[in-house]
Structures are given as C-alpha cells and as structure tokens.
C-alpha cells in the first residue's frame, strides 16, 4: 500500500473552508486525475471522479462521498488593526485563544494569532467564564493602517497549526476532519487500479458539509447513484470525554467504525461487517439513532431515496486545531472500501432486504 502520509499532510496544510474549497480541491483533483476516467466539478464546487466499471452499459453506480471542506473563521469587522471573527462550522470557542491562524486577505495571506483580549477591555458581563467569540480578536502583528488596506470584512481565517507526527504512527493537525477520509478514499482508488469492479464508482469530495451538507445533497441529486457510501471521521477516545458520551467514542488505531441507525441501511451494515470480519479488519458499531450528522443525512433522501452506509475513522479532539488520527485506520478503511467495491455484483441492489433490521 502506498504511503498516504505525504498526501494527507499536504491536504491538511491547504486551506479549504466551506464554500471556499478551491485550494484543497485542486490538490485532490491532481491526485485523482491519474486514478479515474473522468473528473469534473459540481455547481457548488464538489469534485466528481468517475472510475468506470467493466460491466456492459447501463451499469449501476456507487457514490462514495468524503467531504473536503473544513471548519474555520471569517472576518466580521476590522477594528484598529484587530480582526473580529465569525465561525464557519461548529467551533468550541474555548479552544481558540492562542491559536495560530492565516488571514486570507485579497492579495496576501497573513500569519496571525487569535488572542484573548485583556479582561478589562471587555464589558463586565463578558469577563466571567469562557470568553465569547464576539470578543476574541486576531492580531497579525501589522500596523492598523496596513491591516485596513489588506484585510476586509468577509475574508477567511484558517487554522495554521502544522501537521505533526506523534508517537505510534499517529498524525495531528487541523482539518483531519475530514481530509483523513479523503485520504482513505484516495487509497481505495489506488487499490482499484489493480482490482477490477463491475460497477461505476463516483469518488466525490463534497463541498460545504460543515455548513449545509449542500455538496452531498446536490451531488447525490446530480449523479443519482444506486448506492452511496459516506466516509467521515468519528469520535476516538481521548482526554476529557469520560461520562455519558462514552458509547460514542472508539479506541484510536483499533479500526474503522460502521454506522448504524435510521440514516443508514441495515443491510449495508451487515454486508460491511461480514466483509470486515473476513478481511480481519477490526470494526466497531457506531450508533446514531436518528441523524448520523454527516453527508449521509442529505444523501439518503436525495431524489427518490438512496441506500446509504457510513464508515467512520476514529479521530481525537474533533473540530480543534490539534485533531489526532491513526494512519493504520485510514489504510484499513481504504482497503475495506476497495474490497467491497470489487465484490459488488450487478444485482446487489435488488437483493437489499429489510428482514435484518437488528443488525444480526
């Protein structure tokens, strides 16, 4: 299996905030071009890569979605050289003070840091407890007149923590949600270069998952696949998550998870579980009773409905600039996907049944 780490590191070093996925889309397109037969971009900026199956047309089609957008921030106001912020995607404000960022001005990228202002500069009511986002500021180190000419309301601000390898083949950085899944999807495409498959495969790097699931909804409408798989990160056990959320966290580096719940088709869960067991890939059941909180939520109800499945890659500290993922889990996910695809029979969809609703 090729070393996915350099590609993954490049993915998490490129900005790609929701609706502004250009830079990361470009990297993915370059990587996928030699791996697929056709590549195109949707109306909302999602990347569609088609690898044709070898069955005679008309062939059924499988869509695999991994969102490429990442959370970040946007400038709402420039005040005496300091920048006020709004979030794009959900961010726990408590992790922001002291975070290094890049401010993407119209002409230049500017390094900066999110700072907690002196408490006395805040209204009294705002000094207690966690400092709210409306009071945090970005300092770029530049003089106010320079900032006013380089930065405007609406400019993007992305995290600037560099990728760092921790012990035990583990990578830390920002935007591993969901670039880790894009890497897994890429590994799958690489495996498929030497594994034949009957079905058409649409590899889709979706846009705007963190804001509206818009890329997934519109790509599913457009491609109208017979089956859909969604790759997203899930919660790995890490610091601070003891308590009632325990059932939602999984050990880091002990295999991907398989989604279970109303949003996902139980027949697909069964098939993936059987396959993982055969391949000796450890997997865990990842429960979301109603809404999986991923692109699957939009895809399942596109057009007249699409049987959808979710594979999760465990990730510590989701939605912080120091997310942590095990490279092995990414590799396992890529292999599991490729094997599933290579075994897809033409009549798979007709065999999807509802008898096994309890996952047995």
């Amino acid at each position: 299996m090729t070393d996915i780490l350099p590609f993954l590191k490049s993915l998490i070093s490129a900005p790609g905030l929701s609706a502004y996925e250009g830079p990361v889309a470009h990297l993915i397109e370059e990587k996928w071009r030699p791996l697929v037969d056709e590549i195109s971009t949707s109306r909302l900026g999602s990347l569609h890569g088609l690898k044709r199956g070898r069955a005679k047309a008309p062939r059924p089609a499988l869509m695999i979605a991994a969102h490429m957008d990442a959370i970040g921030l946007m400038v709402t106001k420039v005040e005496q050289g300091f920048l006020h912020l709004d979030e794009i995607g959900g961010i726990d404000v408590r992790i922001l003070p002291g975070t290094p960022v890049i401010v993407h001005g119209r002409q230049e990228d500017l390094p900066g840091v999110i700072v907690m202002p002196p408490l006395k500069s805040l209204p009294e009511a705002a000094r207690e407890g966690a400092i709210g986002l409306r009071h945090l500021l970005v300092d770029t180190g530049l003089l106010p007149s320079k900032v006013a000419s380089l930065v405007h309301v609406g400019d993007l601000v992305s995290f600037n923590t560099p990728p760092v390898e921790l012990s035990g083949e583990v990578l830390s950085g920002h935007s591993l949600d969901n670039r880790a899944s894009v890497a897994a999807l890429t590994l799958c495409l690489e495996e498929l270069q030497t594994k034949s498959h009957l079905w058409d495969v649409w590899a889709v790097a979706t846009a705007q998952e963190e804001e509206t699931l818009g890329g997934a909804a519109t790509s599913a409408f457009h491609l109208h696949p017979d089956l859909a798989l969604v790759l997203d990160v899930t919660f790995a056990k890490g610091a601070g998550d003891k308590g009632s959320g325990d059932w939602q966290t999984f050990p880091l580096g002990k295999g991907p998870t398989l989604g279970w719940g109303a949003n996902l088709h139980p027949y697909l869960y069964k098939k993936f579980k059987e396959l993982a067991d055969q391949m000796e890939i450890p997997v865990a059941m990842d429960i979301s009773p109603s809404n999986s909180g991923t692109d699957a939520y939009a895809i399942q109800v596109a057009r007249a409905g699409i049987p959808t499945m979710l594979i999760g890659i465990p990730l510590r500290y989701m939605h912080t600039p120091v997310e942590v993922v095990a490279v092995k889990d990414i590799q396992r996910t890529g292999r599991l996907l490729a094997e599933f695809i290579s075994r897809l029979e033409l009549d798979f969809v007709s065999r999807i049944s509802w008898e096994d609703e309890d996952g047995k």
């Binding site: 909302l44 794009i88 705007q208 509206t212 519109t218 457009h222």
Partner: protein, 329 residues
C-alpha cells in the same frame, strides 16, 4: 420610487396569504415582463429576456404576521407568530386582520417585572367585550399596521422586509430594457416561514445562478458593536449569513460590477438570519447564489428604516449585473 415603496409596504400579505401583494406587484410590472406566471405555491414569476444565461432573482413578497390561536370569553384574541415575531417588538403595537379588523397588542398583567413575556402572555384587543362580538376567529391572520414615514433620506415602514427588495426588483425589471440573459424575477412566497417559495420556484426554473434581494441588519445605532453595516454606505454584497455562504464567484462578480459602475457597497457577514438564496443554493444539482442586501434598522419591528440612496444604488447594481451577458469563471 418612494410611491412604489409606500404602495408595497402598505399592502397586507403575511406568509401564506400573499394574494393582495401579488396583485399589486403584477399591476406594477405588467407590460415590462416578457412573460408572467404564478406557480403552485403562489410565487409570481416574471421572465425578461430569452436565451442566454438563465438567472433567478428572488425577492420575497410575504411579511411576518400573527395568527389567532384562541378568542377568549371576553373577546381578547390570543395569537402566535407567522415567521420571526419577537416579543420586544409587540407591546402597544397595532395590527390589522385580513378582514379589516384592527386592534392593539396588550400584555398579560400577571407578568411580573421588566422581562418581556413570550407571545402566549400577550393578546390582541380588538375593542369588543365578548367572544360573540369578536369579528375574528381561530386561524385568522393579521399583520403589523403602521403608516409609511418619509424622513427625506430615510424611509420608515412595516414590511420593508422584504417589500423594499420587491421594489428594487420591480424597478430593475422596468429599467432592464434589454438583457443578454434569461432573467426570472421571482416574487416569492413564504420566505419568513422557511424560504419555501424560493425552494420550489428554483426547482421549477432550474437556473444556472441566482441571487436574492432582501434586507439585512444594521450596526450603526447606540450599543451595536458586532455587525459592520451602516445605513447610507451602499447596498451590501452578502458573503455569509446564518444559513449559507455565498458562492465566491458570485461575490466577486457583484463586487466587480459595483466597482466598475462606481456604486458604493458594503461587504456583509451577518451573524444569524438568512434569505431565499439559501434555499436556492441546495435545489437540484445546486445553484451558485449570492444576495444583495438593503441595510435596515429595527428589522422585524413595525417600523423598519432604510436609506433611500442605498435603495437607488441597489437598483443600479442589480441592473448593471443583469444587463450584460453573464459568465462566471
């Protein structure tokens, strides 16, 4: 244009009950559109131009309102909101029902202290003494009633949100003597309850790109710190709001047109609130969208204030965008 604005804001049409405003707008654009139709949810769709890039421009014609939940024994009318109706904008307000009945909003006396109660602790007093005499019943619909006020540079009325957007769309349609594009001006219904008209009309039209014209908030009165938006500094080009991110290509296109035509503009990042563009963006295979906003003070109150020059500049900007052939990168 002030007369048009007054005519539109004076019309009674809460979400779901847009017949009256549709008739008014239809009469205003008759003769200027190439084709007009009304779709299944009551959207008024006016096409200008044929062939060329298919563009949808949405301005919602519904306004927020109130609906009767119960008339009590003494004839006091309990109500709920249609769209974003906020307690702080209600006490002492005057309303008018679809059947012409008028009334005043009162507060339940059992409410203690200075905190504003929720809607269910308020009522509408229509001046009767018992239920039998009450001219309205459960399910009846009302809207704010306030006279239009011309302060010279600033105009005040109820339902500037979004009759001002409709006014801009009407004026742009009239000014657009010819266009290289196929433009669908859609006066949408039910925006205030979830951008519903926009979603279905966009599905039906399937445009290649689009934008909405709506009001946005304000940041230039005492104590307002978070929103960098002022009346009189030009219409706003929306980059983001609480429900969506505008397509960057649309934002760039709008900024380029404003700068080329020397039209003042502001960049908008609105925390909270959204417009028809959000619904348009996610329809079918997706539509690149943006929004042109009119800065508006006291939004969703009975006295919304806009700057007249901002409105005129918005008309100029919309016209400048729609006239030449549109090609996004």
């Amino acid at each position: 244009m002030k007369q048009l604005i007054q005519k539109l804001t004076d019309t009674f049409s809460p979400s779901g009950y847009e017949d009256a405003i549709r008739d008014v707008i239809r009469s205003e654009i008759k003769g200027f559109a190439d084709e007009m139709r009304v779709d299944a949810l009551g959207n008024l769709i006016a096409r200008k131009g044929k062939g060329g890039t298919r563009v949808m421009v949405a301005a919602h014609m519904d306004e927020i309102g109130l609906m009767v939940t119960h008339v009590d024994e003494k004839g006091f009318v309990r109500f709920t909101g249609i769209g974003g109706v906020y307690p702080r904008n209600l006490p002492g307000g005057r309303v008018r029902f679809m059947n012409g009945t008028r009334g005043v909003i009162g507060l339940d006396g059992s409410v203690v202290g200075n905190d504003l109660p929720a809607l269910d602790k308020m009522f509408i007093d229509v001046g009767v003494s018992d239920r039998e005499a009450c001219p309205v019943k459960t399910g009846d619909v009302a809207a704010f009633e306030r006279p239009f006020m011309d302060l010279g540079g600033r105009l005040v009325a109820k339902s500037m949100d979004d009759r001002i957007g409709c006014a801009v769309a009407v004026e742009a349609l009239r000014a657009l003597k010819s266009t290289s594009n196929e433009v669908y001006f859609v006066f949408t219904t039910q925006e205030e309850v979830g951008t519903r008209g926009a979603q279905t009309s966009a599905y039906g039209i399937d445009p290649e790109l689009g934008f909405s014209i709506d009001v946005t908030g304000w940041g230039d009165t005492p104590g307002q710190r978070d929103f960098d938006m002022a009346l009189g500094q030009g219409p706003a080009i929306k980059i983001r709001d609480g429900g969506m991110l505008s397509d960057p290509r649309i934002v760039d296109w709008m900024i380029a047109a404003a700068e080329k035509n020397k039209i003042p503009y502001q960049r908008e990042v609105l925390l909270g609130g959204t417009t028809d563009a959000r619904a348009m963006q996610l329809v079918r295979s997706g539509i690149p969208v943006g929004c042109i906003s009119i800065p508006c003070r006291y939004v969703h109150s009975p006295s919304e204030m806009i700057d007249y020059a901002d409105v005129q500049n918005a008309v100029k900007l919309v016209t400048a965008l729609l006239r030449p052939p549109i090609k996004l990168p």
